[in-house]
Every structure is written in structure tokens, then in C-alpha cells.
Assembly symmetry: D2
Homo-oligomer: 367 residues x 4
């Protein structure tokens, strides 16, 4: 293959167009990657629809990808020091932070770097090297992209879910890590919520309740760690509060993780906390207008922590990959929509219509 084949967004809300780009020779420290799987994230839909102000056109969408090394510009190493060779399967950190500013170096929060740019979101494919999004046969990883070699045994379909959903969940659990024997509620049984269930189990939580609207996804969360599930389509607000109090010794939860993407969930979920508990929200990824909270009763009087979470960094990606390695078959079932790479538009529409929760594009070729 001497050309890359990409799907390009040229006008918001319209179908992506196919484009061909020359395969670049990687410069010093760069890595040319042939993708095996591209993930379709819920936020891709918002970007497609023009709701994300960060997006320039034309754009190759897609910030989730796992693939194999085609070539490196001189020596390149992954984050664990492994030398990258042709054919190695790797994941990479979709966000590229400067690792030089006060946020990266002094505060040590590269996820929040003001100079961070993101594959598939913030850079146009207009100019060379073009290949800066994952809806493409190839991507060119810049010199300072952080990579991680994967076991050949680990399905790229599984690994691709770790890159964004898994890493974001890991970030939530870095900020607020539940104690041994603690009681946790998770709002939203989508990909991030499912990862949250698994991270809660890996934290030694005893009671892990997932609240959601789709029975099949709630069952999957049970396999990943949930000890109880509540179907919000079959319960009222009052019933959910009552059930959660009952499951948490009448005290409320030690922590609630919001991965529902709905501000109404926040106002409801704050009431599930015990005094001194923590509410961690990662599901609100674009502007939604005002949120009204009962500050005295839900925050002040109960000494509650409300923690916003924004994106993730390499630590989180590594933790998510380690997590899925322990239970890959179950995590693979997170993916309920598999499309051929050519079907990018169909995949986007299926996610937009909420017909599937997690879609991936499978590339042709030897894998």
C-alpha cells in the first residue's frame, strides 16, 4: 500500500468523503502506523454535527486507534522503553501534551496541558502530513506521541476501547479512589460506565451499583464488577434513591461516578452520596447550559466533593490496558457495533441514533 485511505469531514453534518494521501516517510522519532481498528466515540458524533468548537475542517475524525508499526524515523520507544519495530501492535495516547509547561511539569497534569492537541479532533488534515485522525488506514504519530506496545494476544478491538473510554474512567479513579469495602454507584452503563464498574472492583469496593436504561448493558457491567444494577426505565427517582440507600447501609454511597452524559443525572446522583462522599463527573463533554443544584443540602451540609474530570493522560491509558488484559473477552463485548472500515458513515449514524453504544471500524488486511 503506497497511499493512505481516509474518511474526511468537509462539512458539518454531512457524510464523510473518501480521500487518498501519500504515505509519509516518518521523520526523526515519528512512527507511521497502519490501523487495525478505529474506534467511534460518542464525541465523534458531536464533532461531526459541529457541536465541538475545537474542530477545524477538513478533518479526519477519530481519536481512537490501534494498529501496527509500518516504519519509524530512526529509533522510537514506547513508554515502557521497548524499541518499536515494524509489525509491532501499539496503542497511543490520543492527546499530545507539551511536557514542558507549568501544567505538565510543575502541576504534573499533562491531561490539562493548555497546548494539548488531539488526534482526530483539533488538527485539520488540510496540510501535510495529513494523517492526524484515526478514520484512516494510517496515522503518522508525531515524535512526542506516547505509545504502548501491546501483546499480540490482546485483540485490537478490546485495546481500542481502553484508549478513550478506559483511560477517562481511570482518570476518574485517580482523582477519587474508593477504599476497600466501599460502596460505589455508577451512572450510565456505556463504555465509560462499564470501565468504571471494573475499576471499582479493582479498587476493592464491596458494593458496586450501576444505574442505566439498557438491560443488556447492565448485565455486562455485572460481569465486569457491578454487584447490583438499577434500570432507570423501570424505576422512579424516589425508588432509585430508596434502593441505593438500602444497599448502602442507609448512609448513601462513598462515591458516585457519572458517565451518563446528562446533567439531570448530576442533580439526581448528588443525593445518593453519604456525608463526606465524592461525586465524580466525566460524562459532560460539551456545553449544556446551566445546572441547578441544591448547594446547601447536597454539597455544603454534607461536606461533599464534586469533581469534574477532563480527558486523560498516558498513566490512565496504561492502567486501562492493564485492566482489560485481565478480562479481555468480557471487555470485547463492550463493542456492540462492528463495521468495516469503509462503513464509517454507517457507524457514525448508528451511534448518533443510539442503536449501538460502542462502535469500531475494522480495517482489512493481515492482522
Amino acid at each position: 500500500m503506497s497511499e493512505a485511505y481516509a474518511h474526511v469531514l468537509t462539512k458539518f453534518g454531512e457524510a464523510l468523503h473518501d480521500r487518498r494521501y501519500p504515505l509519509p516517510d516518518p521523520g526523526p522519532g515519528e512512527v507511521l502506523l497502519r490501523l487495525e481498528v478505529s474506534g467511534v466515540c460518542g464525541s465523534d458524533v458531536h464533532q461531526w454535527q459541529g457541536l465541538d468548537p475545537r474542530v477545524p475542517l477538513p478533518l479526519i475524525p477519530g481519536h481512537e486507534g490501534v494498529g501496527r508499526v509500518v516504519a519509524t524515523g530512526g529509533e522510537a520507544r514506547d513508554v515502557q522503553g521497548a524499541k518499536l519495530a515494524e509489525g509491532d501492535r501499539i496503542a497511543f495516547n490520543r492527546g499530545v501534551s507539551c511536557m514542558a509547561c507549568r501544567t505538565c511539569v510543575v502541576l504534573r497534569q499533562p491531561a490539562l496541558c493548555p497546548h494539548r492537541w488531539v488526534y482526530g479532533i483539533t488538527r485539520s488534515c488540510q496540510d501535510p502530513p495529513h494523517l492526524v485522525g484515526c478514520y484512516s488506514s494510517h496515522v503518522l504519530l508525531a515524535r512526542n506521541v506516547q505509545t504502548l506496545c501491546l501483546d499480540d494476544d490482546l485483540s485490537p478491538v478490546v485495546a481500542v476501547t481502553a484508549g478513550c473510554s478506559g483511560a477517562t474512567a481511570a482518570h476518574c479513579f485517580e482523582e477519587v479512589r474508593p477504599g476497600f469495602g466501599s460502596r460505589v454507584v455508577i451512572q450510565g452503563p456505556g463504555p465509560i460506565g462499564a470501565y468504571c464498574a471494573a475499576f471499582a472492583k479493582a479498587s476493592g469496593a464491596e458494593t458496586i451499583i450501576v444505574v442505566g436504561g439498557t438491560a443488556s448493558r447492565l448485565r455486562l457491567c455485572e460481569e465486569l464488577g457491578a454487584t447490583h444494577t438499577i434500570n432507570r426505565r423501570e424505576t422512579t427517582v424516589a425508588e432509585r434513591l430508596e434502593e441505593i440507600l438500602e444497599l448502602t447501609g442507609g448512609e448513601g454511597a462513598d462515591a458516585v461516578y457519572e458517565a451518563a452524559g446528562d446533567q439531570a443525572a448530576i442533580a439526581e446522583g448528588l443525593k445518593w452520596l453519604r456525608t463526606g462522599g465524592a461525586y465524580v463527573s466525566c460524562g459532560v463533554a460539551e456545553p449544556r447550559g446551566g445546572l441547578e443544584i441544591d448547594f446547601f443540602h447536597d454539597i455544603a451540609r454534607r461536606n461533599v466533593r464534586l469533581q469534574g474530570i477532563w480527558v486523560s493522560d498516558m498513566r490512565h491509558l496504561l492502567e486501562a490496558v492493564r485492566l482489560v488484559e485481565g478480562q479481555p473477552e468480557t471487555f470485547e463485548r463492550l463493542v456492540d457495533g462492528r463495521f468495516r472500515f469503509e462503513e464509517a458513515n454507517e457507524a457514525l449514524e448508528a451511534v448518533a441514533a443510539r442503536e449501538v453504544s460502542k462502535a469500531v471500524l475494522i480495517h482489512d488486511g493481515p492482522s
Copy 2:
């Protein structure tokens, strides 16, 4: 003196009445205390007005008091192990936690104990031993009240401010302690805000900005640690934001501490934070209705922590006392309203009318 003399609230919103009670003999572990100074807290006004649902009648108000030991029931020791003797000056933790429940013992957050009761707020003086509030010549400290011996050199007027305002500020700084060289904003230059300025300095913060409406109180905050002050009566919302950004390297503050007691302050102050910053609120002590926040921009996108703070525990009281010991004359000037003990009603009215920020009642007698 063989009787205690107390001011009793018998009907919300009406003047307190004088009452006499017999001086009790302290039972095992109890301490009978003759007060030298009683503090008048802003929340006393709310209780007087009937806005605090915890208050039973009749009540001896007052949760702030410093005095001298009259007698102990057998041996009694302070939190540092000192044996209490007649004539010792002591402070005490106004909140009495059970030290036996999951919150006290497992979560180690006695301030949040569900069984916590508070002198001058939650127990009626109807039944013996009656003396459970500080608007009284004497209080009887129950066996499990935590006490702290004070140096005779430390003015009881200073020490009394540490008991509630100082300890609450200490609690804020336990939850979110700014780093060396950090940039901090404090909303509200009242007693808690002034303590926050001093704790910020004791945390090694470099830039400490206090925002408030009273020039004299802002000047006092400068003596306690503020490096800059902003008078909110002389500035617009936009000007304050601009000035704070300028003082924080264009990034926003690492932490904002709210001691203004006004929900509008919260919505404004959240915008002063840098990405990854923390907002700590201890000023909202009674229901205020809904608060609208721009969740995406002010919490989610900026990975912000919003932390409610409720009351305080013995650790905080000790930290506050240690703090004032280093600068007692300056802290003494926090008290801008000194009343004779007999003038409790006048003191309450002066605080209610916001004529004074911090009032104390000075008791007669050898001190």
C-alpha cells in the same frame, strides 16, 4: 458564685431572658467551666431568628466559649494529656462526636458524625444540667468533650475566635492545602476569611488575594497574610475576574476559598480558578435554595474540584489555636465588637445589623 447566670432564648426572634441555674457538681470526667469570653457567631443570629431547624427551645445560645476550670469530676485531661486543674484556662470543641460510629472510627471524620451534638445549638437547657450553651456564666462540659489547655498569656478574646471561625478555616485547608508558591483567592474578609488568609500564608502560598466589601477588614487580612485585596464595592464582576487573572499569571487561581456566605459568590468565584483548581466553600451554613452553575465550563472542562465544608473537629481547633499563638495581637483585632456579658441582646442585634463582624461577650470577674 453558687448559681450560673444565662441568657435564654425562649421564643424565636425575641429578646433573650436572664435565667439562674444551680451550679452542678461535675460527674466523672465532667468539667465545670466559668466562662471568661463568649463568642457571638453569625450563625447565632440565624438560630435566634429561627432559621436553623436544629434548635430546640428553650436554648442557651452560644457555641463559642473560653473560660477557667472551676471543678472536675475526678481526673480530667485535655487532648494533649494535661491534667485539668482548677483555674486552668481552656478552650473546647463545641461539637461532641460519639467517637464510636463508622464516621468517627472508620472514616475518621468526627466532624461529620451523625450523632454529633453542639453546645448552644442542638440541646435545650430545659433539663439538667441546663448549662449547655455559652451565653452563660458557666458551662458543664460532658465527659467526652474535647478540651485544650491554653497559655495564660493568650487572650481569651483571641482564643474564642479560633473555636469556630478558626477551626472551620482549618477544615477548609485540610481538604485543600495549597502548595508552596501557589496562588489563592479568598472570598469574604470576615472572621473565617481572615483565618483563611492566615492559613494560606502558613501553607506557603505566594499570592493571596482577599475579595470583600469592607476596607478595614481587607486591611486586617493583609496583616494576616493577604498579598492583595480587591474591594467588591468598587469593582465589577468583569474587573475582578480580570484583576485575578492578572495576579495569577493569566491562568487563574490554584484554589479559591469561599467564606462569604453568599451563593452568588460561588458562581462568580468558580470562574477565577485555573484548570485543575479547587473551590472550597464553607460559608453557606443554612438553606439558600437552588444555585445555578455552568457545569461544563466551570467544572467539567476545567477538571475542577468543588468541595463543601461542614463544621470542624478537634484537629482543626488545635491548628487554629497554634496559628493565633504566632500573631495574637493581629488576631485580636478580628473582634470589632466587645460587649459586656449582660449585653447579649445588644451584641446579637449588632451582628444581625452587620454593624460588627465579630462580637464577643466579656464576663466579669477575675481573669
Copy 3:
């Protein structure tokens, strides 16, 4: 039964004697407990041999016990607020801290309370109420003993191991909690080491290596969480170092937990750490003389934390009980020596001779 039947140590190194004591009526807040299972801890042997300077004679040994409530003095509640009733099965915190001193209240480390006393170790049975050790049919729990109601389904044989070994391991993991995907080594596959393996798994560690000398115990550790084991009887110091480096990506472990009870283990285990790692030691429970370490290479140059652990508190006991509830059958196999209560001397000798790793005394009667 109107009398308690106890084994009493009257002379160090000699056989325990049977004694009868009247069953006391519990005073206010006290709980009279009929034991179902008494644990025999390795430190019981040291106390029996007179190596522990805290022990007064005569002594009813035994600080591990699970039993059923016979009577309470008025209302008594467990740490979670459950009212204790006759017949309830409970565990209790063997150490009784004052919950009033600076260590308990300000530092919030009740395990380190200078006033802490311990059932079966620090109080003689000479004087009433006599029943302050677990080698007895009954114990009288003082008013401030912290208790925990257990499910009837949970075997008391399992629960008794949580009280000391499990809680001590929990304390280790409170001080140093390994991150998701981390690499951990545990020295010693005895009861504490086995709990450490389970807590490491509950922390989300990826690589959990247990080093020990008994194949059967290493296998048990594998069932509880160990991903690898190394038999120290079949390997040299150099081989162990090499194997651990290989299993930890050539870097060394993030954390090493010492539960071997042998100072030589410390000098060896420090070398297994990665730069920036932590060594946590809870196995050295009595004086052993000097330990020589290579401070520059093993601590300074590698920025290592060496953390001593002393005993445990109620948080730790609760965490250990929650842990065993998830896998009770496996934890039950920790107990490799079951003796009738009458065989206390035989049990002590078996532990002293290292014929069994964890012994319990099973009491007669309905259970």
C-alpha cells in the same frame, strides 16, 4: 453456663492452667461474649515464652476471638450502628484506644494511641472482671471496645483470622496502596502474607509475587491473588532478585510487603524495589537487635520509602472482614490447625514448633 472457663498463663514458658471465673453482669455499655473460636497468633508464642515485655501475669492469653453476645449492659451498638442482641455473632477490635488523646483525635491514628490496651496481652486476669483474654469461654468487652456484627453465614473460623492478621495487612495497604496495574512482592506466605496477597489483588495490582518457603502456603496465596510465587528454599538470593526483576519489567517492584518476621528478609527485599518504590514491614513484632542496611544504594539513591507498621485499628478490621466475605472458603484454608478449646497448650506448641501456621481453638456448644 454460670462460670467462664479459661486457660491462664501463670509462669512464662510453662503450660497454661485451667481456671474458672464467675460470669460478670455487664455494666453500662459492656458486652459479655461467649466465644466460638479463639485464634492462636504467632505472637502468643512470644508472650508465652516471656519475650514480650508488655505481658503481666497471670494472663489469659489470646487477642483473637469471635463469639456470640450473651448479654449487654443496656443498649450497645456495633461500629455500624447495629444494636447488639443476645445471640448476635460479633468480632471486636482487640486493641482499645482512648479515642480522646492527640494521637487518636488530632493525628487520627488510634492504632498508635499511647493508652491503647489489648485483650490477651497487656492486662492481667488477676482482678475482676478477669475475662480480658480470648483463651477463655467468655470475654467481657469494655464499654469502649469497638465491635462488628457478622453475618451468620460467615464462619467464625474465617472471621477470627481477620481480627489480627487481616487487620494488620489492611494497615499495610492503608499506608502504601499500590496503583492499578502495579507490581508487588510479598515476603512470607503466612496468614498476614496471604491477606497481603488478597489486598494487593483488591488494589488492582497486576503482578503479585509471593516469596516463601512452604509450597502449600504459596499455592493458597495464588488462590487469594498471587500471580507468581517463589520458593525461597529452592532459590538463592541472586536467583530471587533476578526472577523478580524479570517479572517487573527489569525495574523492580513498586512495593514490597514484609510479613516474614525476619530481619534478614528486610535487607534482601529492599533490593527488589524500583526507584521510588516503597517497602512496608509489619512482620517484626518484637526486638531483634540491629539491622544493617546499605542506606545509600537501597534507600537514598533510589528515593525509597521504608515504612514500619504497628498493629491496626477498627478501619482495618472492617476492611479485612469485607475482604474475606468475598472469598470465605479460600480464607478458611488459612487455618491449618484446628484444636478443641481444651487443647490450648497443644495449639501453642504446634505453632511454636512451626507445625502449623495458623491455629484456632474451637469452643463447644451450639454455634
Copy 4:
């Protein structure tokens, strides 16, 4: 000036030789710096004597330097985002970490990066660009060296002490930050110990005891924050222990910071801790052979943390600079040996002979 003038170590233990090197044109992101002040660190003496195995020959020694920008290769920015311009005074992080490996990116401990190299220690001046040590008129800062613009008001003599001594002390206080009102002991009143006194004060510690052998340096520590000093030349081991216990309420210190550079200090200082305290050691910078500790009594039984500290990172440098900005005149007095740049050999000898504690070389030219 078209040439750089450097002092070069060509044979261990012998005098440095003068060398001239051509001034390089900075490549992309590089910065050519003309030094105003070069610091002489105690470890320079060890390197000179050949005791540090990291040192290649020939070497331009010196890892401490403050100077002014001569030229940049294209745009270069400091860690706070300021664009570097000719004439700007800057400090820089002496250690250059890769910011790409697991240690830097996942563990977020760039001080411990295995690829870290250090100006003046680990790179020979044999090959271009030669200028990789601070005993030189100029240094060339590589693209990934972290820099910090300084106020023109801040004396470079002061700033240079922050770069190594100050930053190392900051690292100690990141690992173990004493609480408000805590009690702290510092061993060694040299440059690092003096910074420790100032950081202890900036942490809100109440009691700050410095132990050392030179009266004048102890007095300087008092100006920086020490509340008490103990002269070890005038006291016995037993007297020091007694005095420290007396100053710490009979409990021992919450934390002890070792900056004495002497292993005997460690064995002594461990005994000054309270139960649950922390011992932080940064003074042992090269191999010293075995250290014997009483592990049971000094670590295990008292639940002590012993923390080794190795070097520092950019966060620490920034904190140290912020610290000195508050009290520059006092910090300037840390420097008790000022030499002309030409007198590098004399300066080294004075430090080796312990005639001065902190020496600097002052460069000629406009400043």
C-alpha cells in the same frame, strides 16, 4: 566575547585547567547562556575527588548556574510560558529528564528518570557542544532543559542556591509535608538544612529545631524559620534527645529532615521521632557502607516512615525560587564564600576544607 572560558577537570584530585571553546550557535530550542554566578556544591568536591562514579573526564564541573540569555535557537519559552529574549536572567533545572518514559510519564517522578543526565556531572566536555557544565563562562542549554525566567531584582547569588540545595529541600517537603502546628527537627544547618528550616516555616510548623555544629549557621537558620537550635558540639547524644523531647511535648517530632550528610545522624535522628512520625533523608549523596538501625524500636514499633530523597525536579526548583523571593537578603547570607570565577580551584578547596559552607563563583561583566 566569541569564546567560552571554562575550568576543566582532566584528572581526579588535581587542579582544574582553563580551556577555551568556541561559542556555539544554538540549534532549534536551544539556549546559549552567559553565566553570572556559578554555584559550588558540596558534591562538586566528591566529583573532583573521583568519588562519584557517574563522572566522565574531561569534565566541566558545576551543576548550579544562573545567567543571562545570549541567544536562542528560534523561539524558546520558560516553564511558565515566557518567551526567552536576549538578556533575560534565567535559572534552569540541572537535571534533564526524558519526559517520555514510564518514570516521567506514568509515575510522574522525573527526578527519578533513568535517562536523566545532569549538567556538570554526567557528560564530558570532550565533544561538542562542550559547554555542559557551569564552571564556564557559558553553557548551552539543550532543547529539553527546563528554564525559569527570574526577576531582575533577584540577585543571581541568591537564585543559584535555589537550584540545587533549595530544590532538594523542596523535594523533601513534597514527600513529607508537616502539618499546621507540627514539630519538626532538621539535622545539619548547611544550605539544604537552611532551606528546610524555611520550608518548615512555610508549612506552618510551630516548632522548628535545627541541630548543627556551627553557631553562625544556626543563627541564620533562626532567621529563616528555626524556633530553636541545638549545637551538637556543645551537647551529648542524650542531651539532644532530652531537649528535643522536651520541645515536642514529650512525644518526639512529627518529622525529622536529615541534611547532615552523615549516616551517624540517621541512627541518632530516628530516635527523635514520635510514634507515627517520618524521617526524611537527603544528605547521603554517595556510598557510605552499611548503616545499622534498631529496626524494631525505631521503625516497626513506632510505625515510622523512613524516606530517602534523591535529587529534585522542576517543581522543586520553582518552589525554591518562590521561597527565596520572599526573603532574599536572608537567603543571600547562605553564601559564605564568594570567589571570582577565575578562582574555581580556590573555591573547591575551601569547600573541601569546610572553610565555607556555600561558595559561588562570580563572573565578570555587566550584570
